[in-house]
């Protein structure tokens, strides 16, 4: 009898499962305020989601019989947010090497794919989803902040970054773009040398360069030029490989490294180039010109005088943490907070990235901090939604609430960048995402401790 009961229970659940399979990503949200990000908000409208996509947004939509309806009164619909620099899925606890899969050995490794090492069960996904981050760039190199580099030294090309959804049973289900960019670390001339407050400003360092140039400075310059020349050589050999392959010679053996560079050379896949200082950005642009490749600048800490150059080349930028210390000791205290406004005024397109795993959930708050220091609020919101979608070439799928796009949605009671705003529902490809995670489970458990 008991066994029978369990069996019956199972079959009902299974039936329910089948019944929902076709419809759980098909539903109607009624009487809701839609903030498409790409257009003006629409108050009190209906949104029809069909097979995970946004099928219709209109003042009134008559729901087919039996369709699930969500009452959206007093709520707002926004597109889910995108973090443009993380190590999500690749690194769990940054200080535990065994849990970190970023930073492979080898200097030029464009054939490595971050996507295939994404652990869908990483606890980070649960923590970031509840704050409305529905997709993220996950970087194969250490640059995402999740973990260090492997046994080797710093890499030049660390592999292919993936744009992924923050929910899914497998990495295949999570994939939006398996090769959103190839990550290149551009060499830099110097590091941060100063005590606590950051490095000595370059114009001051130059002055003391007499002794420095004779020894360390000249070495640094030589190393820098050596690295640039090695990178150029690698690109040249990739180009040669492409030409050889196109000629279809007999007995041609593919080279996975160089093969992986073809989409970059063809301008189909951008290079995500980390460059923090203005002179490095300038050099990266020169490099891109020389090699005829598309680039995205990752994590600049200053704009310097490269604004016009970035703008005229249409090069987008991923800005790192807004809440950060100034780069140099004599920078204004709010240099990092005001940086997005500088890029905005220079007419450079940018999106935000947290360059972490632990703080991905603070992405909206970082964006809001930039607004406090001059960035228009709608630009801040675009920089975590439609701009990253455009920069990573996926704006036909994600980044705004528009017909035909995936229903990656957050439904809130207010401005999604405001820390006090509550999130009512999250949808990824039209499927409702649980708002529980490891942390809410621990919370519930210990709330119940007597």
């Amino acid at each position: 009898m008991k066994r029978y009961g369990i069996l019956l229970g199972c079959s009902i659940a299974a039936l329910a499962g089948t019944a929902w399979a076709g419809t759980n990503d098909t539903f109607l949200i009624r009487d809701v305020d839609v903030y498409p990000v790409t257009a003006k908000e629409m108050k009190g409208v209906s949104v029809l989601i069909q097979d995970g996509k946004i099928a219709e947004i209109a003042a009134k939509i008559v729901a087919p019989k039996g369709m699930r309806i969500l009452d959206g009164k007093g709520l707002r619909v926004y597109p889910g947010m995108i973090d443009s620099a993380t190590n999500l899925g690749l690194a769990e606890i940054s200080s535990v090497r065994e849990s970190v899969d970023t930073g492979e050995l080898g200097d030029f490794m464009p054939q490595l794919r971050a996507l295939v090492a994404v652990n869908p069960e990483s606890e980070h996904f649960g923590a970031v989803r509840v704050n409305g981050i529905t997709s993220a760039i996950t970087l194969p190199g250490g640059g995402g902040g999740g973990g260090g580099r492997g046994g080797g030294r710093a890499q030049s090309i660390s592999g292919q970054a993936a744009l992924i959804h923050t929910s899914g049973f497998t990495w295949e289900e999570m994939e939006i773009s398996r090769s959103a960019a190839v990550q290149l670390t551009f060499p830099s001339m110097g590091g941060r040398g100063g005590r606590g407050g950051g490095g000595v400003p370059p114009e001051v360092a130059d002055l003391f360069g007499e002794a420095g140039a004779a020894a360390g400075g000249a070495n640094a310059r030589r190393n820098y030029e050596d690295t640039i020349s090695r990178i150029n050589q690698f690109f040249d050999s990739a180009r040669q490989y492409k030409a050889t392959k196109a000629a279809k010679p007999a007995g041609f053996v593919p080279d996975l490294k160089l093969e992986a560079m073809i989409p970059v050379l063809d301008g189909k896949t951008p290079l995500a180039v980390s460059a923090s200082q203005a002179d490095a950005i300038h050099d990266a642009i020169q490099f891109a010109d020389k090699q005829h490749v598309k680039i995205v600048i990752m994590g600049p800490r200053e704009l310097g005088n490269v604004g016009p150059e970035l703008k005229s080349h249409n090069i987008p930028v991923i800005l790192g943490r807004v809440l950060a210390l100034p780069e140099h000791e004599d920078d204004s205290y709010d240099a990092a907070m005001a940086l997005p406004t500088q890029f905005y005024k220079a007419g450079v397109k940018f999106a935000f990235g947290t360059f972490t795993n632990e703080f991905v959930r603070n992405l909206p708050f970082q964006a809001a901090a930039a607004v406090g220091f001059g960035l228009p609020a709608d630009e801040a919101l675009k920089a975590v939604t439609i701009y990253p979608a455009e920069i990573w070439g996926q704006s036909d799928k994600v980044g705004s609430v528009e017909k035909g796009k995936w229903a990656d949605l957050m439904i809130t009671n207010g401005d999604p960048l405001e820390i006090q705003t509550k999130i009512a529902h999250i949808y990824i490809k039209g499927k409702e995402v649980e708002l529980s995670n490891k942390q809410t489970r621990l919370y519930d458990k210990y709330m119940g401790r007597q």
Partner: protein, 450 residues
């Protein structure tokens, strides 16, 4: 005699202290709700708060129309303003060293913290050993010397630490079992050893105290004796046993928190605060029963194994258990926006506005035993005040002015309007140095100053 006292007081009174009226503000007092009105500041203290106040003639007026005033932010865990290392980790017990001896009043972090609304900070020794060095409470009086920074009358403290950081020196690279460990292992290497180190130290301290108590009792009875030898390591532990020095203990896991509470019970002393205390929510009951405070991060987690169970609900949960909770920074950057760190406890766990604000004002003041002086906007307290342009528990808010002891130490308007002058001054210095170099001076001393 009285005349002398008045004269002494007059010389002590800061010459810059003046009468200030902050008008038209929304005043979040922490102790008695939110008031729309004015604050009168006299002789560095809050003289009056209310919707109608007596404005003294000749007072400096600050019009805070549309703006918010909160008490100066207090960071219960910081390592800024230290001159060099703050981690005397060569021994398991380093209670003889004192942060007070290495206060560097020229650390830029002080000004940056000030610009983020921090007026007081607890400067702690590092966490390399079970019993670390002595701590000091500073006011962010930027421009004063080291002595002028010290929060006069604040009870001294001492840093304890548990868990991974403490064990690290017991597990040097190469492993304990390695034939040629790179570094000599230092006891302890386990949490068991951590308990032992503390129990051993307090066993010694108790005997030391008994020796002194015996001596003092005999001297009080009129006996003439040679005093016992003063032990600089045991002296601060004796003060802990006597209740004249606060213990601030770095901790993560619930087991180690409970362990220290029981050790303290055994030896008859109190833990003033558990710092970080990321699993404090699991043993909130025990922490509250002991009477300890909890000073935690808002949402840091998973950067090491012992932080894997950290939840952003920690602050709110411990508060519900009756623990006095503060939210701290342990970081020169995070320190600059503790207002939004506090706001996160409203988002996660539903703390009230006052509870949240108290976590960075009144509660840390209580934890440091200085709540008779600071932590709320009450008549008679120090005029340590922060003016924000917007609702301070929003991530869009930024600091406009900061007062300490009734003196404006940070003024954003002046900061912004002074940027051009500062840049010009810097350029002048750079040019001067350049000129000296081209004249063959090469930055040497010869060409300077006549």
């Amino acid at each position: 005699m009285r005349k002398l006292l008045v004269a002494a007081l007059a010389t002590l009174a800061p010459v810059w202290a003046q009468t200030i009226v902050i008008r038209n503000a929304t005043i979040m007092t922490v102790t008695h709700g939110t008031v729309k009105g004015s604050i009168v500041v006299k002789d560095g203290k809050i003289a009056e708060v209310g919707d109608k106040v007596m404005e003294p003639g000749g007072a400096t007026i600050i019009d805070a129309g549309g703006q918010y005033v909160i008490p100066g932010i207090i960071d219960c865990h910081s390592h800024i303003a230290g001159d060099g290392g703050i981690n005397e980790g060569s021994v398991s017990v380093s209670s003889m060293v004192d942060i007070r001896d290495i206060v560097n009043p020229e650390d830029f972090s002080i000004y940056r913290a000030l610009a983020g609304g921090v007026t007081t900070a607890n400067i702690l020794h590092g966490s390399a050993n079970s019993i670390g060095g002595q701590t000091v409470v500073l006011k962010m009086r930027w421009g004063k010397d080291a002595t002028g920074m010290i929060f006069e009358g604040a009870k001294p403290g001492i840093k304890f630490a548990l868990g991974e950081n403490v064990k690290r020196s017991g597990n040097p690279q190469g492993g304990r079992g390695a034939t040629t460990p790179a570094v000599q292992a230092r006891y302890p290497a386990t949490r068991m050893g951590v308990e032992d180190v503390i129990r051993e130290a307090f066993t010694e301290a108790k005997a030391y105290k008994a020796e002194w108590d015996d001596y003092n009792a005999k001297v009080a009875r009129g006996e003439h004796l040679i005093p016992p030898r003063k032990d600089l390591k045991l002296e601060p532990l004796k003060e802990v046993l006597e209740g004249t020095r606060y213990v601030h203990c770095h901790s993560y896991r619930s087991d180690e928190i409970l362990m220290l509470i029981r050790v303290a019970d055994e030896f008859g002393f109190k833990i003033r605060t558990f710092q970080h205390v990321l699993e404090g929510y699991k043993v909130g009951k025990e922490i509250a029963a002991h009477g300890a405070g909890g000073s935690t991060f808002s949402d840091w987690w998973d950067y090491k194994v012992e932080a894997a169970d950290a939840i952003p609900y920690n602050a709110a949960l411990m508060t519900k258990e009756g623990v006095v909770v503060s939210v701290n920074s342990d970081d020169a950057e995070l320190m600059r926006h503790l207002n939004t760190e506090a706001a996160k406890s409203m988002r996660y766990g539903g703390a009230s506005e006052t509870e949240a604000l108290a976590m960075v004002t009144l509660n840390p003041a209580k934890q440091l035993g200085i709540d008779n002086r600071v932590g709320s906007i009450d008549v008679g307290k120090d005029a340590d005040l922060v003016i924000y342009d917007k609702y301070p528990l929003s991530d869009y808010a930024k600091v406009q002015k900061v007062l300490i002891d009734g003196t404006v130490y940070f003024d954003r308007d002046k900061e912004v309007s002074g940027l051009a002058a500062k840049a010009a001054e810097k350029q002048k210095l750079v040019d001067k140095l350049k000129q000296q170099q081209t004249q063959g001076g090469r930055g040497g001393r010869g060409g300077r100053g006549q």
